[in-house]
């Protein structure tokens, strides 16, 4: 297997955009190709497009060739779309990585796009409610907010986690997102602001939840040995982990402990030949405030049940135990499902290159992980990136 590098990429501004699915694709494609020298659309041999539900959000299926056409790409090796709901973009990176690592393609693009704002938002919520097993869980109105609300309720009961600790995650991530021009949310929030925001599903308020977001992004992958042809500052994929246990609510390993995430972390550290201490930046999937708290625990930065204390003590800020979501997270940047993991990867690249504002720059960072969960947190996916080839 060949080592693989990401040599550049680009993205749209994210948020409630006055733009169509096709507009978003074109904006991100232009930004991506303008960021990578010596690669034009005709060089792209593999294109993988992460998109969770374009059939429902944009009433468009078969989006991989649509994206290829709008980007001027005519792939000769691999073309496909990946769907893994909230991790659809990470699935795209993984497949593009596999294409290059295996030798199947020398230049691959991992792209992600989601248009989520619709004239009738109940229609968008319908799409979000067929993510869990629709006939047995979705039918009960169980979409992400009520699921994570119950997760939070049990975590609060079993471990003493508080609503204030959860709100502090939103305060942190929306602090960093004010320094990210791509982010959906550009205003700081306080704990009180979180408490005053409308209740979505108790104990979750609106600011405990990531947004409904339009956005698109793409990155270019090549073999590590030729990376310097395209950029002075590539980043390398050095490992990954992914684990899934069960799907319907009854078959989850646990509501309050994300066992599949622990397994994915172990595999990431093993495959990347690193320890937890080697990680300088973690872009974690904070779809809800409780998610990030449980991720501190599953990664092992905080003891089980101590995730709330971890944020209370400021440990996940830059300069603390581990810089978590200096991009602004999903809570600050929004969550355009198929694009999210690509946006995370792109921000790590910019962190390594020193292209992000100083106040959210993790100086001297060498190794980073990006994480996505999907469904009822039954699936967890992680990629590990390094500034230097290992």
């Amino acid at each position: 297997m060949r080592k693989v590098a990401i040599v550049g990429g680009g993205a749209t501004n994210c948020g409630k955009r006055e733009a169509s699915f096709r507009d978003l694709v074109q904006e991100a494609g232009k930004a991506m190709f303008e960021n990578v020298k010596n690669i034009s659309p005709k060089d792209v041999e593999a294109l993988i497009v992460g998109a969770a539900q374009p059939e429902r959000f944009a009433f468009q299926a078969h989006v991989a060739p649509l994206v290829a056409e709008y980007l001027g790409i005519a792939p000769r090796k691999v073309l496909a779309r990946t769907e893994l709901m909230c991790a659809s973009g990470q699935a795209a990176i993984r497949y593009a990585w596999a294409c290059v690592a295996s030798g199947m393609a020398d230049v691959a693009v991992a792209f992600g796009a989601e248009k989520m704002y619709m004239p009738d938002m109940a229609e968008a919520q319908t799409s979000m409610t067929c993510v869990l097993d629709r006939e047995w869980d979705g039918i009960n109105g169980l979409s992400a907010p009520p699921f994570f609300a119950m997760t939070a309720q049990r975590h609060m009961l079993d471990y003493g986690t508080t609503k204030e600790q959860m709100a502090l995650v939103s305060v942190k991530n929306r602090h960093y997102s004010t320094m990210n021009p791509l982010a959906q949310f550009q205003k700081e929030v306080t704990v009180e602001d979180v408490f005053k925001s409308p209740i979505v599903a108790p104990p979750l308020n609106l600011f405990d939840c990531s947004g409904i977001t339009d956005g698109a992004a793409g990155v270019v992958l090549v073999p590590a040995e030729s990376a310097k042809k395209y950029t002075d500052a590539p980043m390398y994929i050095i490992g990954s982990g992914q684990a899934s246990i069960g799907n319907a609510i009854n078959n989850l390993a646990s509501l309050t402990e994300w066992i599949p995430l622990k397994l994915a972390v172990e595999e990431t550290l093993r495959s990347a030949k690193i320890t937890l201490k080697d990680i300088d930046i973690a872009e974690l999937h904070d779809c809800f405030t409780i998610s990030e708290i449980m991720e501190y625990e599953a990664f092992g930065w905080a003891k089980k049940g101590r995730g709330g204390k971890f944020i209370e003590n400021g440990e996940p800020y830059i300069g603390g135990t581990i810089a978590v979501n200096p991009r602004g997270g999903l809570l600050g940047c929004g969550h355009p499902l198929g694009a999210t993991a690509i946006l995370q990867a792109l921000d790590i690249l910019q962190q390594f290159r020193g292209e992000v504002p100083k106040e959210r720059h993790v100086g001297g960072a060498e190794i980073a992980v990006t994480h996505n969960l999907s469904g009822a947190a039954n699936v967890h996916s992680i990629l590990a990136y390094s500034r230097s080839v290992k």
Binding site: T126, T129, M150, A201, P202
Partner: protein, 157 residues
């Protein structure tokens, strides 16, 4: 240049909520091989399948056991009384077909050794407690399809 003509056309008539978007499964024997589950519900019985070969209780109900791939499964009763393991109330962001129900409670109910999600009726969020007893209830649509929910059991003090 000829004058360009403008003509109004009607948007398609209001569509009633399509079957595949109303969240209820297609339940009869023409559409599923677990129609027995829904027939049992109509008789007030919440049931699931158990593998006759390896004894595993399977939820959701199946036609093949994923442990030993036997297709000899039998229906077992889960009982009619459960206990709340977790609950919340949907207040914002309901999908089509649920908007008029807002707000409504959802819970994870422990029943017959399983933990299943369900609508919890007969209570507001503030009235519910973890560990509270809930009673099986069957709801029916005009077209004959059925599903289960639970009613919160009010405690007598």
């Amino acid at each position: 240049m000829k004058k360009v003509r403008f003509e109004k056309v009607k948007r398609t008539e209001t569509i009633k909520l399509p079957y595949m978007l109303d969240f209820y499964p297609l339940e009869d024997e023409k559409n599923t091989r677990i129609s027995q589950f829904f027939n049992n519900l109509k008789q007030g019985r919440l049931t699931t399948t158990r593998c006759k070969k390896c004894g595993k209780v399977l939820w959701p109900p199946r036609i093949v056991c994923p442990t030993c791939f036997s297709d000899e499964l039998e229906w077992i009763d889960l009982g009619t009384e459960g206990e709340l393991y977790a609950f919340t109330e949907m207040r914002l962001g309901a999908p089509l077909g649920f908007v008029e129900d807002l707000p409504f409670c959802i819970g994870i109910v422990r029943i017959g050794g399983l933990s299943i999600s369900a609508r919890i009726d007969n209570a507001k969020y503030e009235d519910l407690k973890i560990g509270q007893k809930v009673q099986l209830k069957i709801v029916g649509l005009d077209d004959g399809r059925v599903f289960y929910r639970f009613d919160a059991v009010k405690e007598n003090h």
